[in-house]
Symmetry: C2
């Protein structure tokens, strides 16, 4: 049997035997290549330059696997990089675990792996350990990817994750347009006949965040606005707190194309997923400096102040609408868009 001629994934590729080894060599080690992965032990052996670490995990089940501006591979790297970066950590190492449906195209798998490798290179992170499982036809939908990540933390970054220094008057910043990812995936999924092409904003934000963190004492809190969108991040942020949040609709970057598609489909862009957007709470006195840093970076050109921390309505977020009204913003109750990431 000349196994290199296989065009599709077989159950044997997940057996731990010869086919598994071949897949690992020909696809994963080939593209993710680095000294840690090359050893192929049960675990990767790593040397860290800090004893303080951030550790995170995410499984990706996006449907379809390819969409304008990205694919499940790019998403799986950027998503976990961003979870580390918003904790104030420098992302260092990733694991990559694949659950593949029997019969899946090896060519498509390699394309996705190449995309992961490219995004990992951009984010300056190494994929050091992995796993492959194959399930029988119809027992999963093509391909799911889990990535877990480790990053190192400087001494001052611990407080960012808890947001313990958030104070009244702090400004809320977002680094650009909301809703691009959700609408890009939605468009790809339903093959809608909409002329405007919307690209996902899927990107690793650690470079951008590193820049903004140069303004010492500026950032009080960060979170990436993925599932549940901007609305869920701000609702969560002030829930059970002594402060509330005022958001200004007119200040929130939103592309006309995304606004149009949301109106057409009945989605609220505040709840639509992003994959390259970070929400920051920034001390008022340093907000201009942080904004300048963000706007000088390619992923922050459209960064804007979109709201502020207030003592007026503790635990609540109010959206001041463009037409002069206001409405309360709450967490997503059901599910707008399943399998968006």
């Amino acid at each position: 049997m000349i196994m290199s001629k296989q065009k599709n994934i077989l159950l044997g590729h997940g057996s731990g035997g010869r086919l598994s080894h071949q897949l690992i060599q020909d696809i994963f080690v080939k593209h993710f290549d680095n000294p840690f992965l090359r050893k192929q032990g049960d675990s990767a052996i790593l040397e860290m330059d800090s004893s303080s670490l951030a550790f995170t995990t995410d499984s990706f089940v996006v449907d379809p696997l390819f969409f304008p501006g990205g694919d499940i591979g790019k998403l799986a790297v950027a998503g976990t990089v961003n979870d580390l970066a918003v904790a104030g950590a420098s992302p260092k190492y990733l694991s990559a675990s694949f659950i593949i449906e029997e019969g899946f195209s090896i060519e498509l798998l390699e394309q996705i792996v190449i995309s992961m490798a490219a995004e990992a290179a951009k984010a300056n992170i190494l994929i050091v350990t992995g796993d492959t499982k194959v399930v029988d036809r119809t027992k999963c939908d093509k391909l799911f990817i889990n990535t877990s990540g480790i990053g190192t933390l400087g001494k001052s970054s611990g407080d960012i994750t808890t947001g313990k220094h958030i104070a009244t008057g702090d400004k809320i910043i977002i680094n650009g347009h909301i809703g691009d990812h959700g609408m890009a995936v939605m468009g790809a999924r339903n093959q809608l006949q909409i002329k405007t092409k919307i690209d996902s904003d899927c990107a690793s934000l650690n470079g951008l965040i590193h820049e903004a963190m140069q303004i010492e004492g500026g950032i009080q809190f960060m979170r990436d606005a993925t599932r549940g969108g901007l609305a869920t991040v701000v609702s969560e942020l002030c829930s059970d707190k002594t402060y509330g949040i005022d958001l200004y609709e007119s200040q929130i970057p939103l592309r006309d194309s995304v606004r149009g598609m949301c109106e057409l489909l009945g989605f609220d862009p505040l709840y639509v997923a992003n994959e390259g957007k970070v929400v920051m709470v920034v001390a008022a006195r340093l907000v201009d400096k942080v904004l300048e840093k963000l706007r000088n970076h390619k992923y922050g050109k459209h960064a804007n102040i979109i709201g502020e921390i207030t003592e007026n309505h503790p635990g609540k977020t109010w959206l001041h609408t463009t037409i002069g009204g206001k409405r309360m913003v709450d967490m997503l109750a059901g599910e707008q868009l399943p399998r968006i990431c």
Copy 2:
């Protein structure tokens, strides 16, 4: 909507919104509870007592979810703990990521989470970060779990993962009976009318391995014999090396029940998966001491010397059979038993 009355997983449980939060609180944080997880940041923030780390990942897709001696939850914890332990590391922190089919029973999910929590407590490891995705009905098979793990390494443990000090005359040890896990899952899957009840050997081996590592300079290499079984571990170990391996069939612990079921179904027990078995290469002069340590531990009572490193047939493993013949042992070529872990 009184969401606590939900009996089945909805797509909204994976939305990142209110239902997700409730599931995290009511099931995951409740049972995995620890200070790291409680913070519920995008990443867990950890302090390590060593700069040298082991990092590993595994996705679990076992079918069925429950089998004699374990379930997918116990397996997901023990499997990743063992990958860390065989690297010579002390397992410290786990991530847990769930991909759940819409409609899955929340009661069963909780049962599995309780099982994970119990195994994590036994293995003295903390589940510190996680993720939940829900996919539409028929898009995955009930439940898949990914766990990634971090362990700390002592100074001397680095060489164990590479096996660089393996020498001719070193002994091969296994800590007990082979094939239990594979046949337990197979029995549960097919509901065969076999009277002998076979329990999976699924267990976290870090305690056992810690004991054996007390014999300094004893263990030259370790690997857990999971997918692909004992045969795959030994084939991989000597592949492309200047040494080969002799295995003695009569010395390999194998239960009559497992032997019988393998014969009935046409499986070679050497290739059947284990989830609580470690293969060790041990320096000949220290093998009795290591064996004593193993046999004094509940997971090593049936530990035995099953073979040795030889210079006679480099790169090859020969099995000396009970009836006096010998045959070459190679890696698994296809797939005997899909979705065994």
